[in-house]
């Protein structure tokens, strides 16, 4: 088995151990999903204008967010990697015959997948059975479901690529707190975690179009409900790919630079 696949597997096994955390996450996510939907229901009932998204599309959007939270949230962090850098344990990683970017990438990917696998199915099962208007709608069609899966997968890869940049920044800052906070606040808004992007004012929508964040959350979830039509979805997937390549290239370059000047902390 390749080293990258193997570390993926081990990180996955590691992640599966935390059953209680998964259960706690499950209840929290159901709770938050319900609260968000209640707010939207109130807004939609009180609104007189036609809104750019149907209520059931927004409900679906919120539940998909909660189901796949572990895959797409940027603030989800692997303290082990931060530890490696700040206390110098990276020494061991550096004397392995592997490419470090790929190695860490695999670790982060596996952590997210492990995190999500344990809780996504139970949440999906529950929210598919809720009474209207709280119920999760089925995908618009088989083809939009397929496109959604591709978009979600690419969104996950883009999320990991962005988070790699956060980890690499720690080589310079020595503390993950600042970069995590900044990215978390900015990304949550710009990715459409707080508000679906079509509900934002136009000027703000324009900003999100120039950044990678919306391709991780807003895009896949609106493909699911058919709010983004086929052709647009296929174009979107192409843009996701471009972002992915760009982010990985920048990350690889930065990491190589960081490792050249690495100072091992703590003797």
């Amino acid at each position: 088995m390749s080293a990258y696949l193997s570390v993926c597997k081990l990180r996955f096994i590691n992640g599966l151990q935390y059953r209680t955390a998964a259960f706690a996450g499950l209840t929290t996510q159901l709770f938050f999903g319900l609260i968000f939907i209640m707010v939207y229901v109130a807004f939609y009932n009180g609104s007189t204008k036609a809104l750019p998204m149907e209520l059931n599309e927004v409900v679906t959007y919120v539940w998909l967010q909660q189901i796949f939270l572990g895959l797409i949230m940027l603030w989800l962090r692997d303290n082990e990697i931060f530890g490696l850098i700040t206390n110098g344990n990276i020494a061991y990683e550096l004397c392995r015959p592997v490419e470090m970017y790929g190695f860490w990438y695999s670790k982060l990917l596996a952590q997210r997948v492990a995190n999500t696998v344990l809780r996504c199915l139970p949440i999906a099962f529950i929210v598919l059975l809720l009474p209207q208007p709280y119920r999760l709608s089925l995908p618009h069609s088989w083809s939009s479901f397929t496109l959604f899966l591709i978009a979600l997968l690419l969104g996950l890869l883009v999320t990991v690529s962005i988070s790699m940049l956060i980890y690499i920044s720690v080589f310079w800052t020595m503390s993950p707190v600042g970069s995590i906070m900044m990215i978390a606040v900015a990304s949550e808004l710009l990715a459409g975690m707080i508000l679906p992007i079509p509900l934002m004012p136009i000027w703000m929508q324009n900003i999100t179009y120039f950044l990678p964040f919306r391709w991780t959350v807003d895009f896949p979830f609106r493909v699911y409900s058919g709010h983004i039509p086929y052709m647009e979805a296929i174009w979107g997937i192409a843009i996701q790919l471009i972002w992915l390549i760009l982010l990985i290239a920048v990350g690889t370059w930065c990491l190589r630079k960081a490792l050249r000047r690495v100072v091992l902390q703590g003797g």
């Binding site: 193997s6 096994i13 550096l94 490419e99």
Partner: protein, 325 residues
């Protein structure tokens, strides 16, 4: 096998005095000092040797190990190990070496040891048969049968260190760097680790470089010592030679029937005196042991005599003192 030529490395260290005022000042003006961790280190180690690398804390031992294992890039100098320059051909080079950093862990904390080993197998692309053989050998000699299935967080320090050493040897490296492998271990584990190092050196011809503060490690293992202080190499030679240089001193401890007055023997130094026991030190090349005992027994009724050579620890302290490090 290993050739270092003029290796230098310096670090920039931020520093300030204690106190709130100084901390506030440091917000605006940072003071940096350049610390010369290594300067002009050169040595040569042939294949199959065990070399003890010693020096006081902060002398640059770990830095040298990190340069040799390709983790740190030195400021200048050249280093060739098995024909590789460690920091340039990192990926190709590290396949051939094993490293143990005694103060760090390479095992995954929450999963059984064997899972970490299997990851290492895939990282080093060790063929299954070879992996099985070297794992069996390591489990046997380091006595890991009962602990290999346990999560690392539940192991004691000694058990963990044995697992760490095994982890560094799964891919059968030709060179092994050990940075304080016996730190914090009890006597039994220390001896187990030492025996094991001796064995792989003898059976597989692995070249071993180890740093340690425990001179017993050096005595048990190393035929050659490199001593470093303040970043420069101060001594390169065998342990016997070192003993020869500083080790002609003997101490003699005598017990006798109660005696009122101190007894002085010409040519010796009286280190301590009570009415029933005295300790003298002398140079046995200038004064024979027999002559000293004869001199004492003329004046008191001897009950017991013990002669000691200077412990290696004290020789090292003397050596450090001589070089003012």
């Amino acid at each position: 096998m290993i050739q270092l030529e003029g290796i230098s490395k310096s670090f920039k260290v931020a520093e300030r005095s204690a106190g709130l005022k100084q901390a506030a000042k440091a917000l605006f003006v940072r003071k940096h000092r350049t610390v010369e961790a290594l300067s002009e280190i050169s040595f040569h180690i042939p294949e199959g040797e065990i070399v003890g690398y010693i020096g006081p804390n902060g002398a640059g031992k770990s830095t040298t190990i990190k340069v040799m294992s390709g983790v740190l890039v030195p400021d200048k100098g050249s280093c060739s190990i098995m024909g590789y320059t460690p920091w340039k051909d990192r990926a190709a080079y590290v396949r051939n070496i094993g490293v143990v950093f005694g103060q760090r862990s390479q095992l995954w904390w929450d999963v059984p040891v064997i899972d970490s080993y299997e990851l290492l197998r895939d990282i080093y692309k060790i063929p299954q048969a070879e992996y099985k053989a070297s794992l069996d050998m390591l489990v046997e000699t380091l006595d890991l049968h009962t602990i290999i299935q346990m999560p690392v967080r539940q192991l004691s320090l000694g058990q963990r260190m044995r697992c760490e050493i095994a982890a560094s040897l799964l891919h059968s490296p030709k060179v092994l760097f050990l940075d304080e492998p016996t730190i914090g271990l009890d006597a039994v584990s220390k001896i187990a680790v030492r025996d094991f190092i001796k064995e792989i050196n003898k059976e597989k011809g692995v070249t071993v470089i180890l740093t340690t503060h425990d001179m017993n490690d050096i005595e048990a293992l190393a035929s050659r010592i490199l001593m470093i202080g303040k970043g420069t190499l101060l001594y390169d030679g065998s342990l016997q030679e070192l003993r020869g240089r500083f080790g002609t001193q003997r101490t003699i401890t005598v017990d006798f029937e109660p005696q009122q007055h101190e007894i002085f023997i010409p040519g010796t130094e009286l280190l301590s005196w009570t009415s029933e026991r005295a300790v003298y030190s002398f140079d046995h090349e200038q004064l024979s042991v027999a002559a000293v005992i004869a001199g004492i027994s003329e004046q008191v009724k001897l009950l017991d005599v013990a002669i000691d050579t200077k412990p290696i620890d004290e020789i090292i302290v003397q050596l450090y003192k001589e070089h003012q490090i």
